[in-house]
């Protein structure tokens, strides 16, 4: 993030808990991050790391109960998204913070044509009449690269392929010209050649429209190609945060390092054997009192078992929540 720029979204100490029959699940534990205007922030983590729950908490999309946002703040345009009344949140969620989900089939309504679904936010939030909304809807479909846009407006979701549906979802999310777009694994359900098309489209749209994007994924390859800055999540916490080149070139957290080593590539040297992160991700039944990666970490020492590391600076724009320093191979002096 350039110094002095006012973040468009500033999240501090977000905590989200699920109340289940077998006790509490602390899905998000003190997550903090900020987002600059026009920035593409990648959020990486495995399933259950809390990356989706974090974003859903911000825009109030988690059903409560069982979910409960226990604390923290999320400042967007001077307002705290976690505290403002639902009515006010509705004027932000959608028109100003758009989102695209993983599965384009379940997020589109099968009984309405896509034209109606793109026009809906335009008429509701932008006060357009039918003709204006339809013209804008066609523009949006053209923007996301759907050929023959005018005619396609009358088609229903099942008449589109997976990649095309995801383009429609992006068009809906962009309808009101949002300041922030949250994309939750938008290419995971797609084939690689289609994924390449969507990634290309997103990069172009971001440059063209200048919005900030939060891109959630478990695929480091996707992140490497698209993000400006990355946060790595593990066990409901941010364990590392850095500009993309720094993160891939100089990863600090043992989890990030292991993750990078377990992923094979289609180019470069081929390792005879894949590196493995042994064990399973943690079960988050309480606020962690120790490092949540300790059981799978090759460098864990005494302190990791009794204290949960906080994020500490590790270079320019780079911070990490770990007591171990890969540069010296020794515990950090903190």
């Amino acid at each position: 993030m350039p110094d002095g720029a006012v973040p468009v979204l500033d999240v501090r100490d977000l905590k989200t808990v699920f109340l289940t029959r077998s006790g509490e699940v602390h899905a998000v534990n003190s997550v903090s991050f900020d987002l600059s205007p026009g920035e593409l922030l990648g959020v990486v983590g495995e399933s259950g790391s809390g990356k989706s729950v974090t974003m859903m908490s911000l825009i109030g999309l988690l059903p409560s109960p069982p979910a409960q946002v226990r604390g923290g703040s999320a400042i967007f345009d001077g307002a705290d998204l976690l505290k403002i009344p639902e009515k006010q949140l509705r004027r932000i969620r959608g028109p100003r913070i758009g989102f695209v989900f993983q599965d384009p089939m379940t997020s589109l309504n099968p009984v309405f044509d896509v034209g109606f679904q793109i026009m809906e936010p335009l008429r509701k939030h932008m006060g357009m009449n039918k003709t204006q909304a339809r013209r804008r809807a066609q523009e949006l479909l053209e923007l996301v690269g759907i050929p023959d846009a005018g005619r396609r407006l009358n088609d229903f979701p099942h008449q589109f392929s997976g990649g095309m549906r995801q383009r429609v979802m992006i068009a809906i999310a962009l309808a009101c010209d949002p300041d922030v777009l949250i994309a939750d694994e938008p290419t995971t359900a797609l084939d690689v050649t289609i994924q390449a098309q969507i990634l290309d489209l997103m990069k172009r749209l971001r440059d063209q429209l200048g919005m900030a994007v939060i891109w959630i994924t478990h695929d480091l390859g996707v992140i490497a190609g698209i993000a400006d800055r990355v946060i790595v999540m593990y066990g409901g916490q941010v364990v590392e945060q850095a500009p993309v080149k720094e993160l891939f070139g100089n990863p600090q957290h043992p989890y990030t390092r292991a993750l990078l080593e377990t992923v094979p590539s289609v180019t470069g040297d081929r390792a005879p054997r894949l590196r493995v992160i042994e064990g399973q991700p943690p079960i988050l039944s309480a606020t962690p009192a120790a490092c949540s990666f300790r059981a799978r970490c090759g460098h864990a020492f005494g302190r990791c078992y009794v204290e949960n590391p906080q994020r500490m600076p590790a270079g320019s724009g780079h911070d990490v929540a770990c007591f171990w320093d890969p540069a010296t191979g020794e515990p950090r002096d903190v």
Partner: protein
């Protein structure tokens, strides 16, 4: 490879077509050509990777190899025995030799059976082991796949995705098979767990002399595990060669595009790379385009591609590719086709056969 490796699986001209029924009387109105003329061999002890996008027919092809579908056409030989037209009793005798690991370990394990019953089921079906011997074998299998023996009486829902996949693998190796079809075995798993399962598969291959058909859409993982790789597009194998050749000098334009679509997990390389981004979507296998199946999306499409379906040719030893670009006789063929079409235009009454 001097001591002529033995071919364990020989597939030739394999076609699997599924009927489409429609209309008021549910009459047959067409067919989905899921696999449309596929030939390849798998030699003993190797891993053949089968890659392609969803809907290209790779899973159908894998399942057909185990005769889980009836063939529309073609032949499949396992260890020299033809199974394409084998009857039920014959298949039952052969099946212990060929097993499958499924994509979704959640859906492929019966939730009401304990782990020991799941792993023991193939033993009940195909062997006459006594209770003690069976339990000993189940423990042996659990050790082999890295499952704690104390889990034997637990149910599938008590396990994580990676552990469930281990159960599926234990079940697959229970009868000492020689050939296993791994149908996207890691697609449903997290990155850090994928590596565990792939390493396990490699260990088992070495230990039990297994031959794998590894079906996946993950090109980087296939590069890791496979010895040779076949690329499928719309029911056809468009390119088949050794791993190193495929990843360093792909010949088919589809393979090139597929490889360049894989996101590079290194930002400094990712921005440098010259990417081929394909336009459009895969056509429907119920209505494939005329000529080459890939002609609708191919960045290097030629006139001939819309007219003539390319045949698979061995362009270098062990390197097969089905593309007009790599056919040395292409100019000859192109002029022949053009002449033929002219003749058609002169005699419009003559019908193409």
């Amino acid at each position: 490879m001097f001591d002529a490796p033995r071919k364990l699986i020989e597939v030739s001209g394999l076609k699997i077509h599924f009927p489409i029924h429609g209309g008021f009387l549910r009459r047959r109105v067409g067919q989905v050509k899921a696999v449309d003329g596929v030939s390849f061999d798998i030699v003993e002890g190797e891993t053949l990777g089968l890659v392609g996008e969803s809907g290209c027919g790779k899973s159908t092809c894998g399942r057909a190899l185990l005769r889980l579908y009836d063939l529309t056409e073609g032949s499949i030989r396992i260890d020299g025995k033809e199974i394409g037209d084998a009857d039920h009793a014959t298949l039952r005798r052969i099946r212990p030799k060929m097993q499958m690991v499924f994509q979704d370990p959640q859906a492929s394990l019966n939730p009401r059976m304990t782990l020991s019953r799941i792993i023991g089921e193939p033993l009940d079906e195909h062997t006459n082991l006594g209770r003690k011997e069976k339990l000993a074998r189940i423990y042996e299998l659990m050790d082999a796949v890295g499952l704690n023996r104390s889990f034997a009486n637990r149910y599938p829902h008590e396990f994580s995705g990676g552990q469930r996949q281990r159960i599926g693998i234990a079940r697959a190796i229970a009868l000492n098979p020689s050939f296993i079809v791994c149908d996207e075995p890691i697609a449903a798993l997290d990155v850090s767990i994928q590596a565990q399962v792939v390493n396990l598969l490699e260990d088992l291959q070495e230990k039990f002399d297994l031959t794998y058909l590894f079906i996946s859409h993950d090109l980087s993982m296939v590069r890791h595990i496979a010895d040779r790789v076949a690329v499928m597009y719309l029911g056809r194998v468009v390119e088949l060669t050794t791993r190193d050749r495929l990843y360093t000098q792909p010949l088919h334009p589809y393979t090139e595009a597929l490889l360049s679509s894989v996101p590079e997990p290194d930002p400094s390389l990712a921005t440098l790379r010259d990417r081929v981004i394909l336009q459009g979507d895969v056509p429907s296998p119920a209505n494939p385009p005329r000529g080459c199946n890939f002609s609708t999306r191919c960045p290097r499409v030629m006139d001939i591609c819309h007219r003539l379906d390319p045949q698979s040719k061995e362009v270098a030893p062990g390197h097969f590719v089905a593309c007009h670009l790599h056919d040395p006789r292409i100019n000859e063929i192109a002029s022949e086709v053009a002449a033929e079409q002219e003749a058609h235009q002169e005699h419009p009454t003559r019908r193409e056969t």
